[in-house]
Symmetry: C2
């Protein structure tokens, strides 16, 4: 009964080489997160659907993977009562009757749920990171998966712009360590709201921002056209024009905006936040370009203050990291007034950038330093204590398990990228020696069996 | 609209402290696995149900979590055709119609699927480890979860007993590093088969082993009684008695068994394997007790050679690690003749043992070394470059984000276990100084702001 094995579309196996590269990324971000006082939590893969539904919009609800209740979930259901009158079924209601749980869609909602559920155990500001897979029933396509890792770092319980600064520092340090040159763009939702207010359309902040968002691609005239088509007046567009045409230094931009936003309390508050943050950035010193970009609109529906986006300077792939401040994330679970700020690193895109720029360190994934060839059982028993002693010094060592042809054993070393090989036969055993060969330089040395320090030094 | 948040029964949130402890376990095993040439792979959380069904017995099929197909899965189904004639539905068939995917039940079947699917890309023997969650719709109870991590290390593609040796060495080193004293018990399925053959019941190896398995708990007489009740003759039980009453050295046990098993080729082959393995163990030198235990029967339905089980000597909690050799795991996916051997570490039980024996290293989970108190914006801007310089030396540093009362900032340091605090106000800034206090010893020192090396040395 042969089954041809495969995996669900949109999911991936990660090979040893891929895992070595992915772990390099995860280990790098974790090390940086910890240096700023952020610690890891994990939440369950499955959440109650009541926790997830309604948090990601109507489209998001459809993209949730639902888990069938265990036991006999069908016997309790009257399927006919779920007919939609068009020959089908009311899908959302029927799946709610059959499925009480769903797979996590992101790490933000579970984080909010975690903070509310464990409120009394936590110290605030609560600084956590979380690196776990999420699942979305998106149509699979190049670069879009149904299971992928998110890598989130958030602080909750303080309004301080020092937390925004920490995230800026974390971004800079992570990408410096990874060897990726980046541009960090910052916007502020309150400034966008202020712009909408001063041009007379306080309710159209989304329309205005969506239009502004295209500034880079289509230019000011086309953006103006789009705003007009959304019912925004020519006068209002004229008010916005000087802000959208802003260039030059951050200080200059902030000063120019202060003039335009003079009539909006909200807008001025956003400017104050930006000025405080850029003041901190100047004091701390940051090793990557950081600029204000009013066209940055990501996550507009829940960010309330700073908005961040990071682009790789040497590889066009869209945003590789982004986030912002949300004033009321835990409100959906009954805990109002908790302000938080966070960013998310896109592991898959960072992987692609490192691959494209050839920036992964050489030798990732080749774990073993020395392979002892297997000549026969006696030779193996001869080298076993040597192998154990080398491992005792922390050196990864393998013994080829079978007395196969040497060609095959060499091939194994070659394919695994093992740099040293030792062939000890009966003559070495008789002399109490161990031969070790550097497979790339060809250099070969002979050691007394017990001189493990010398062998270790040769392998170093 | 307040929702009281909770998580599905049988699942868990892991706090920062728990994650620090869990990562300590995972990092320890990973480091050891790598030292023996094993590298990490990951497989998707969801597998096609065709991959999973029928691999874990009828009971296992019921414990699979099934994922509802996305889109409109109900419209394609004629529910009435799935009625079971007793007022309910044929649950297995109907869930198969609605769900094409299920959550991974263990790491072994996905590993077998991986090896077959990626056969041409792999070098054999293929040595991998895998640490990922698995899901089972078991009834939740103390110590049994619906989502839990497995931590598996396997080698596939060689019959060599050297691989069994490696697993023995890995077990010894992992638990030595963790500070848990263990007993490693070894059995061999072929020996059990041989015993069934020599007593005349070659088909009753399961009945016989299940009975032998209770030897520790109920004693020989009750075991004999159970075998008789299974239709095994008094003469057969008499043949087995000397083997079951074996004690003393491993060499003595092996010799005694060789006499009893003389009439079974399979049994003698099993003895040969055990002798070869114990020969290697003697050559390599192992720092924990390793003994033959004929009553060890775990995983009998798919192990074909060695069977392993590890018990903590100082805490009664059942097996904390186990595994064995399986000759034909990939056969279910159409690739016969691949022999493999592997073990699985029980992370939850190991966590419980380390907790009970108080063996977790002190200070796990307290990431931050130094907290700068927040006096006001000016003081923060004064310390920002110092904090950045210390982080540049790899030291985890936080700045309290708000100018709160010092009591609150002290409490924060205390609850996070931060050992050093720096309070820099306007007078320190005027003098260009930085004060640092060791919160446990009370020692306080003053440094020039730029003398980061001296500050780092004080924190070390």
């Amino acid at each position: 009964m042969t089954q041809k094995p495969s995996i669900p579309k949109g999911t991936r196996d990660f090979s040893q080489q891929q895992m070595a590269c992915r772990n390099y990324i995860f280990d790098t971000v974790k090390e940086v997160f910890r240096k700023y006082g952020y610690s890891e939590i994990q939440t369950p893969s499955m959440e109650n659907l009541s926790t997830l539904l309604g948090k990601y919009g109507e489209e998001g609800d459809k993209l949730l993977f639902r888990v069938l209740d265990s036991g006999d979930p069908f016997d309790k259901v009257d399927f006919d009562s779920y007919r939609n009158g068009e020959g089908g079924y009311r899908s959302a209601a029927l799946s709610a009757a059959l499925c009480g749980k769903g797979l996590r869609y992101d790490l933000t909602v579970p984080f909010a749920r975690y903070v509310v559920q464990h409120y009394s155990e936590l110290s605030f500001p609560f600084k956590r990171f979380q690196i776990q897979p999420v699942w979305r029933a998106d149509r699979p396509q190049k670069g879009r998966y149904r299971e992928f890792y998110q890598c989130d770092v958030d602080a909750i319980g303080s309004n301080s712009q020092l937390l925004e600064l920490e995230l800026v520092q974390i971004v800079e340090e992570v990408f410096r360590k990874l060897g990726i040159r980046v541009l960090l763009k910052i916007n502020n939702r309150k400034v966008l709201q202020g712009l909408a207010e001063v041009c007379g359309y306080p309710d159209k902040v989304v329309d205005i921002t969506v239009a502004i968002d295209k500034l880079d691609k289509i230019g000011f005239d086309a953006v103006a056209e789009e705003m007009l088509s959304k019912g925004i007046s020519r006068e209002a567009v004229a008010v916005l024009e000087p802000v959208l045409r802003l260039s030059g230094t951050t200080a200059g931009k902030l000063a120019a905006m202060r003039g335009v936003l003079a009539g909006s309390q909200e807008g001025l508050k956003g400017l104050d936040e930006l000025e405080e943050l850029f003041g901190y950035i100047a004091s701390a010193g940051i090793g990557c370009p950081v600029e204000i970009d009013l066209s940055l609109a990501r996550g507009l529906n829940y960010y309330t203050g700073a908005i961040f986006e990071v682009k790789a300077l040497d590889w066009a792939i869209g945003s590789i990291c982004g986030g912002g401040r949300y004033d009321n994330l835990t409100g959906i679970f009954g805990l109002p007034g908790m302000s938080g700020v966070g960013i998310s690193f896109g592991a898959d895109r960072i992987f692609d950038v490192l691959t494209a720029l050839d920036k992964f360190p050489k030798g990732l994934g080749s774990a073993t330093t020395l392979l002892f060839a297997n000549m026969d059982q006696a030779s193996v028993e001869y080298v076993l204590p040597v192998a154990a002693a080398l491992r005792g010094k922390g050196i990864p060592v393998e013994i080829y398990p079978d007395p196969s042809k040497l060609k095959k054993q060499f091939d194994y070393a070659d394919r695994k990228g093992i740099p040293f090989l030792s062939i000890c036969g009966s003559s070495e055993a008789a002399e109490g020696k161990v031969n070790v060969k550097n497979l790339s330089s060809g250099e070969q040395k002979s050691f007394a069996k017990d001189d493990v320090d010398a062998i270790a030094a040769f392998l170093a």
